[in-house]
């Protein structure tokens, strides 16, 4: 049987700086510059440099993706993993036919739907019911298909009382639930999903993940899933592709790919402090930016090596640029093997309103919890159920080491992501005389 999806050396060349729309003045300027050439013209100053190794055939072009090939069978869930800017989104845009490749080709055998966001085309003045039909047909469904599944969609979204209310009166959670419910009921043979699972509350996310798994397993659909959520990639996908610098560098079982990906995202050196106060590349968005991240021991000194029984403090200093409501910070510990150990959040401790200013939140991991190994520490900032401000990324790393661990004083390798200090109770119930 032929594979459901075949991709052969797909490449996309982008022009740097002036992508897409320009103004007439720019074009005239460029034509004028062409006439003036010879007098040692310099390239237009706003043209940024192409990322290293991705220069195109001319100086003002670069390869967003280059020579990507892979295939996927029916019923497979394929995770597409890579750093921001690696080319994942471009790949997805080409495969979902939003833009064309420069060269190479792809064959998709079956109907196709892509979810690069939820709620595409929703109109605020229309009711939930009207938007279900609007969004559904935009995503490629037929009206009769939507009508047949309408009740199921509304039930999935848990919105039956509000279905005839204009969506502008919906809370963001309701909006997302309805949008995802439509998407979850698409029945294409091939489905592309980009980060959309990063919305909604945890319970609803779980429901969506379950629905996706079911769609692939029971109905033989092929799902492509782009995500930074390694936990979801690990639990859902049988097959993953790693995209690095525009190329598909690895194709195989997710576990290997995830550890390679995480290894590449962990800073090369072990870092216990990142300070952006003197730099302009701080992780930021329109609302908030990090100014400093530090790993501290109990005396307030920056460290990268901790004894298993020592507490570890992760201090996040951040600047709020405009008034914010409901912001929280999450800290994720990932093992050097790429397994998520846990995520801690200050949700229950954080203030409700942030006025512009500089703040600090510190997460204190108690001693006697982590096992002896290397960990990457990721930080993320979001408004739960609404949006991400700064996506999860590993910034710092540390090593927990020392003789012994919480469970054994014998220096033996100890499996497990964590190794909490556990109390045991030992009792002698009865003693038997030893035969002489």
């Amino acid at each position: 049987m032929k594979p459901r999806v075949e991709v052969e050396s797909l490449s996309k060349l982008y022009r740097l700086g002036s992508i897409g729309a320009t103004s007439l003045r720019d074009t005239f300027g460029r034509i004028a510059a062409r006439f003036r050439r010879g007098a040692g013209t310099t390239p237009r100053k706003e043209t940024p440099a192409a990322p290293a190794g991705r220069q195109g055939p001319t100086p003002d072009t670069f390869w967003a993706i280059r020579d990507i090939s892979f295939s996927a069978k029916a019923g497979e869930i394929v995770g597409i993993v890579g750093r921001n800017g690696a080319g994942k989104s471009t790949l997805l845009k080409i495969l979902s036919r939003i833009t064309e490749p420069t060269s190479g080709r792809a064959i998709l055998r079956g109907r196709l739907a892509s979810l690069l966001e939820v709620g595409t085309g929703f109109h605020p003045d229309l009711t939930g019911r009207e938007n279900v039909f609007l969004n559904g047909t935009i995503l490629g469904m037929k009206r009769w298909e939507i009508a047949a599944k309408f009740d199921e969609i509304v039930a999935f979204a848990e919105l039956d009382r509000f279905i005839d209310t204009p969506v502008k009166h919906y809370s963001s959670g309701m909006f997302v639930r309805l949008a995802f419910a439509v998407a979850a009921h698409l029945e294409p043979e091939i489905l592309f999903i980009d980060e959309v699972l990063a919305v909604g509350d945890a319970g609803f996310q779980k429901k969506c993940l379950g629905k996706m798994g079911e769609v692939a397993n029971q109905h033989g659909r092929t799902v492509f899933f782009v995500s930074h959520n390694m936990g979801a990639v690990r639990s859902l996908c049988e097959h993953a592709i790693l995209i690095e610098d525009g190329r598909a560098t690895m194709d195989g079982p997710p576990a290997e790919i995830i550890s390679r990906y995480l290894a590449s995202t962990v800073p090369d050196e072990i870092a216990g402090e990142l300070d952006w106060t003197e730099r302009d590349d701080a992780p930021s968005c329109d609302d908030v930016e990090y100014t400093r991240l530090r790993l501290l021991d109990r005396d307030g000194a920056v460290r990268t090596t901790f004894e298993p029984d020592q507490p570890i403090a992760i201090e996040i200093t951040y600047r709020v640029k405009r008034r914010l409501r409901g912001v929280r910070f999450d800290v994720a510990f990932t093992t050097q093997e790429g397994e998520l150990a846990f995520i801690a959040t200050d949700h229950n401790f954080q203030r409700e309103i942030h006025e512009p200013g500089t703040y600090q939140t510190t997460c204190i991991i108690p001693g006697g919890l982590l096992n002896r190994r290397g960990y990457a520490v990721g930080v993320q900032c979001d408004v739960p159920g609404e949006r991400f401000l700064i996506h999860m990324r590993n910034y710092l790393s540390l090593v927990v080491s020392g003789v012994g661990n919480q469970s054994s004083s014998f220096p033996e390798p100890w499996p497990g992501v964590v190794c909490p200090r556990i109390r045991w109770e030992i009792r002698t119930l009865s003693e038997e005389p030893v035969a002489a």
Binding site: S23, L95, E100, S114, A148, V215
Partner: protein
């Protein structure tokens, strides 16, 4: 979930259903079969436009009527009473109202159509569907306003006819349909041309309204066609060059029984409209390939 198994024809796509993605070449890159596949989207978009317009404003669809009425009023005062432009024996109000039916539809189509890429950048950047659906849907949506304006026109027409004005309603009314069809073809073609060029050069969007305005004065909206063709025929070329000229005048002939029905000129108009539509489809096909790259 039992309902997931219901729709039989989506369980497995037909074996020959293959989507090939590669850099397209060639001039005319329209997948007609796919366009037909997406007819439901066309329907839903038209419905969306209708519902959204209806719900957004307090007066709702009343605006569709008020706008041409106000225009008619201004035209009557400025061009008829002050400037003294003859209306060929037709009551001025009907004269303008009638011409504004095809002209208003045309202008509305081109204005909304020209902004296709700008207004839908977000949608186009996130999901694929045949882009032609969007300008097509606005051409159809605008028919709703036209329908209301027709109703208003007939109310006024009946009133003037009862008062003994020299207007005749007859079977010529059926001519309005082919005239409207040419208007739709022409305005769709221009929408595609304008939207493709504004996608590349954003500043051209300022030019569209001016162009439409100038075009109206070159069209027999505020004066009869005979002003151009009559006399020494010095200005006849303007009418021959302008596909909208015989249409607007033809509407007067069709709905009021007055004015001229210029067959050869209409033939040229229809042919020009078809050519413009073809050029529009070609330009649109080129623009849609690259326009989302800026998103």
């Amino acid at each position: 979930m039992p309902t997931l198994q219901t729709s039989p024809d989506t369980e497995s796509a037909p074996p020959d259903y293959e989507i090939h993605i590669e850099a397209r070449t060639g001039w005319l890159r329209v997948n007609w079969r796919e366009l037909w596949e997406y007819r439901d989207l066309l329907f839903v978009l038209v419905r969306r436009d209708f519902l959204a317009k209806y719900k957004q404003t307090v007066l709702g669809p009343l605006w569709f009527i008020l706008q041409p009425l106000l225009n008619t009023l201004v035209f009557t005062i400025v061009f008829n009473k002050v400037a003294g432009i003859e209306t060929g024996g037709i009551p001025p109000l009907l004269f303008y109202l009638c011409a504004l039916l095809p002209w208003g539809y045309f202008a509305q189509n081109v204005t909304t159509g020209a902004a296709t890429f700008t207004n839908n950048a977000h949608l186009f950047g996130k999901v694929y569907f045949p882009r032609l659906i969007v300008p097509l849907s606005s051409i159809i949506s605008n028919l709703f306003a036209l329908g209301l304006q027709f109703a208003v026109f007939f109310i006024f027409g009946a009133w003037f006819a009862l008062r003994g004005a020299a207007v005749y309603f007859g079977p010529a009314i059926l001519l309005a349909l082919p005239l409207l069809l040419i208007t739709a073809v022409l305005s769709l073609g221009l929408s595609l041309l304008f939207s493709s060029s504004t996608a590349k050069y954003r500043d051209l969007s300022h030019l569209t309204p001016i162009l439409i305005q100038l075009w109206m004065f070159a069209t027999p909206v505020i004066y009869p066609l005979s002003k151009l063709t009559g006399g020494d025929g010095r200005f006849a070329w303007i009418a021959w060059m302008n596909p909208m000229a015989p249409i607007v005048e033809g509407f007067r002939f069709s709905l009021l029984g007055r004015g001229t029905f210029h067959g050869p000129m209409l033939g040229v108009s229809a042919l020009a409209s078809a050519v413009i539509l073809l050029l529009g489809i070609i330009a649109f096909g080129r623009a849609e390939r690259t326009v989302t790259d800026c998103a």
